[in-house]
């Protein structure tokens, strides 16, 4: 807790003939972080990938394209697949799948193309279905020119008549346009073209078909329906294929990924003609296990040795970081990773935000109803999602919801309504004179803090600012510790402790001003504050003066703990007031409007109420707290290995 796992740097050296077995053993161990070999100016060269790599990665590419075609998503199979039997049948099954899928793809492409062709022909033919002409009659004349297409207006006929009377014109309206088929003698072609141009003619190409257009269209529509039915049956075939092969594809993907990873591992190793060297990090907890496993498997033919870390290396960000937190704190690591992983010597604040994040969330939302909604959401998330960031977030949601419910009880609020007191929802529902209404109205143990009471709101504001002071100073203390370790005690005192001294001074001045201690305290306080300021300037230079107001703005920033909650209470209260005092008394249609306002208002408020506290709680950690001590920038400890999910080895 509070620090990353201790790791040691090690090298593993051995004869190249043992390379594959060493990779197998390390992969099995799944606790060694292998460092990439940097070839620069080195006698050694980068290792060659194993023979299996090419074949396995080819198969993997194929498999993933199948998985894509079948639309497969990760799922939990009923049983684990045995690796040997899988490998035994893999090639045959892949071929089977390949031929099935390529047949289906061909058929689907063919049908898709046919559907497109039919649609475009129907679009071309449809305007001419109103003319009493067969499709073949539009073509094949020696002395007659034919124009088919759309024009803007139906006055084109007068224009044509001014050129010649020797013409045949079919015209009809279609989709707000005029469609024409014009037959004229070829000798007037130029003038006719001009007239057409003037009328905004756009040509339609008549498809190469024969027969009556209406009959053609209905034939095509029939064919289209058939093709659609065939497509649907194709989809169901794909479904069957998907059901049959989904376990196989998922398991093979895992086995092939493992094979490729193992085969490509030598790309990270340094090799000479006969030896290989693996540069790696191993956590101290597991070092003994790795050494004894290697000893046992290779009887001393593989050499493993721990290297001493140089001071510079500890300072730098080169050491891979593995979190060292108890299980309940682990979900918070996601929040840490979102910011940046801690470095090796830094404090890892996961365990601290494990407390403060849900606490802040609860203070802001503080509502039994919303808390229960979140608790359900989080529980569903935990049940459905087995791993990854979303699972962490679900767990985090459960923590936040518990804190929300606790503060909800303290504020005695449910879905923005007050349970007890003047604004009690029960009283307004049951009437003030009913027994229950009276009881809820007069119950005085809860709320401990009433977020609608003008007397309690300043208390809430001041309390949240005080929480801010505590949180900020915790940040300064952690900063003091980090600074003392990395830069020495003097810097730590001047740069971090100075802020605490400064605040102490200001606090003494305020306490003396209020009158808790004698007035002379003001002078002492001012002196302490000036001392803090001098220390700060000595530590950080004159620029520190510019940062002074941040003390005020940071502290006031914590008043959002009260303010965000108040705004959500305010919205809920306003919605309830509008409905109960302005809409419902008018009766009739206003009751329906009132119900609508209630539903919309509370839905919006619930969404805001859930999202806003999350972001603000996060912000208080990242902006106000972390900036006091945290740098981050650590690398992830990424062990070479894999935990099998879908396959097993006997």
């Amino acid at each position: 807790m509070l620090a990353a796992k201790k790791v040691s740097k090690a090298i593993i050296v051995g004869n190249k003939t043992l390379l594959d077995s060493v990779v197998d053993v390390l992969y099995q161990l799944n606790c060694v972080h292998i460092e990439d070999f940097d070839k620069e100016d080195s006698f050694f060269s980068i290792g060659r990938p194993g023979k299996a790599a090419t074949e396995a990665s080819n198969k993997l590419v194929k498999l993933r394209s199948f998985s894509n075609f079948l639309g497969l998503k990760p799922h939990n199979p009923d049983t684990m697949v045995n690796q040997d039997s899988l490998l035994h049948e893999m090639d045959d099954k892949l071929d089977e799948l390949d031929s099935a899928i390529s047949r289906l793809t061909d058929k689907r492409n063919y049908l898709d193309n046919e559907l497109k062709a039919i649609e475009s022909k129907v679009v071309e033919l449809e305007p001419f279905s109103q003319f009493p002409l067969d499709v073949d009659m539009y073509k094949g004349y020696n002395s007659i020119s034919v124009h088919t297409g759309f024009v803007r207006s139906n006055e084109i006929e007068t224009d044509i008549r001014s050129i010649t009377t020797d013409y045949e014109l079919f015209i009809s309206s279609y989709n707000k346009m005029q469609v024409i088929a014009l037959f004229t003698s070829k000798e007037y072609e130029e003038q006719i073209a001009e007239v057409l141009d003037k009328n905004g003619f756009s040509e339609i190409h008549i498809p190469e078909l024969t027969g009556n257009p209406q009959q053609l269209i209905s034939g095509m529509i029939n064919r289209k329906q058939d093709a659609q039915i065939e497509l649907a049956s194709l989809e169901s075939e794909i479904d069957i294929l998907q059901k049959k092969y989904k376990d196989f594809v998922q398991a093979s993907d895992e086995v092939l990924s493992i094979t490729t990873q193992k085969a490509e591992a030598p790309l990270k190793f340094a090799t000479s003609d006969n030896t290989f060297i693996i540069d790696c990090w191993i956590s101290d907890d597991e070092f003994e296990k790795v050494v004894s496993t290697i000893e046992h498997e290779f009887n001393g033919r593989i050499f493993i040795s721990k290297l001493d870390l140089e001071e510079e290396e500890i300072e730098s960000e080169s050491i891979p970081i593995e979190y060292n937190n108890p299980n309940p704190v682990k979900p918070l690591e996601t929040i840490m990773d979102l910011y940046s992983r801690p470095t090796y010597k830094e404090i890892d604040p996961s365990a601290i935000i494990f407390i403060t994040f849900p606490l802040f969330y609860g203070i802001m939302l503080g509502d039994i109803g919303y808390g229960l909604v979140l608790l359900t959401l989080g529980m569903v998330g935990i049940a459905k999602i087995k791993e990854g960031e979303l699972r962490s977030l679900s767990t985090l949601l459960v923590y936040c919801s518990i804190s929300t419910i606790i503060f909800g009880i303290l504020y005695a609020e449910i879905f923005g309504f007050h349970i007890f007191g003047h604004h009690s929802i029960v009283t307004s529902l049951m009437g003030e004179n009913s027994v229950l209404g009276m009881a809820f109205h007069n119950f005085s143990l809860l709320p401990i803090l009433d977020r609608l009471d003008p007397d309690d709101i300043p208390i809430l504001l001041i309390a949240s600012a005080l929480i801010g002071v505590v949180h900020l100073n915790l940040g300064f203390l952690l900063g003091f510790r980090n600074m003392a370790i990395s830069h020495g005690m003097k810097e730590a005192v001047l740069e971090k402790m100075s802020w605490i001294v400064l605040q102490l001074g200001i606090a003494i001045v305020i306490i003396a001003y209020i009158g808790f201690i004698p007035q002379a305290g003001q002078i002492i306080g001012a002196a302490v504050a000036v001392l803090g300021l001098v220390m700060l300037i000595a530590g950080e230079g004159m620029g520190a003066i510019l940062e002074l107001p941040s003390i005020l703005s940071n502290t006031l920033s914590y008043t959002r703990l009260a303010a965000v909650g108040l705004s959500s209470v305010g919205i809920a209260f306003a919605v309830n007031e509008i409905v109960t005092t302005m809409l419902f008394p008018k009766g009739g249609v206003f009751i329906i409007i009132g119900i609508l306002v209630l539903i919309i208002g509370h839905t919006v408020n619930t969404v805001l109420g859930v999202v806003a506290p999350g972001l603000h709680a996060l912000r208080l950690q990242y902006v106000e707290f972390f900036t006091k001590f945290y740098e981050g920038g650590g690398r992830k400890f990424n062990p070479f290995g894999y935990i099998r999910k879908y396959t097993e080895v006997k």
């Binding site: 910011y339 709101i457 300043p458 006031l556 008043t559 303010a563 900036t627």
Partner: protein, 86 residues
């Protein structure tokens, strides 16, 4: 509209009038400071989203930079609450 000339007004009317002015002041404090932080945050937010599109791990830095001007509206809110409740 109620026409109130100060000379004729009762004490209750004057107090009510002052309460109204306080409420307007509180509203202005929150509203104007809200607009101010909105204007300040819009550019930072756009730039932060742009940066995140290129490098996703900049989320936290982007968030921090984006919410810095938010302090303005918190100040406004605090002033409003002080005006109304104290």
């Amino acid at each position: 509209m109620v026409d109130i000339s100060i000379a004729d007004a009762t004490v209750e009317q004057i107090i009510a009038n002052q309460k109204g002015l306080v409420a307007i002041g509180a509203g202005l404090a929150v509203g104007l400071s809200g607009i101010a932080s909105g204007i300040a945050e819009k550019d930072i937010g756009a730039a932060a989203v742009g940066a995140m599109a290129e490098r996703e791990e900049l989320f936290a830095k982007g968030l921090i930079l984006t919410v810095i001007p938010e302090t303005i509206v918190i100040f406004g809110l605090v002033i409003a609450i002080l005006l109304i409740f104290m």
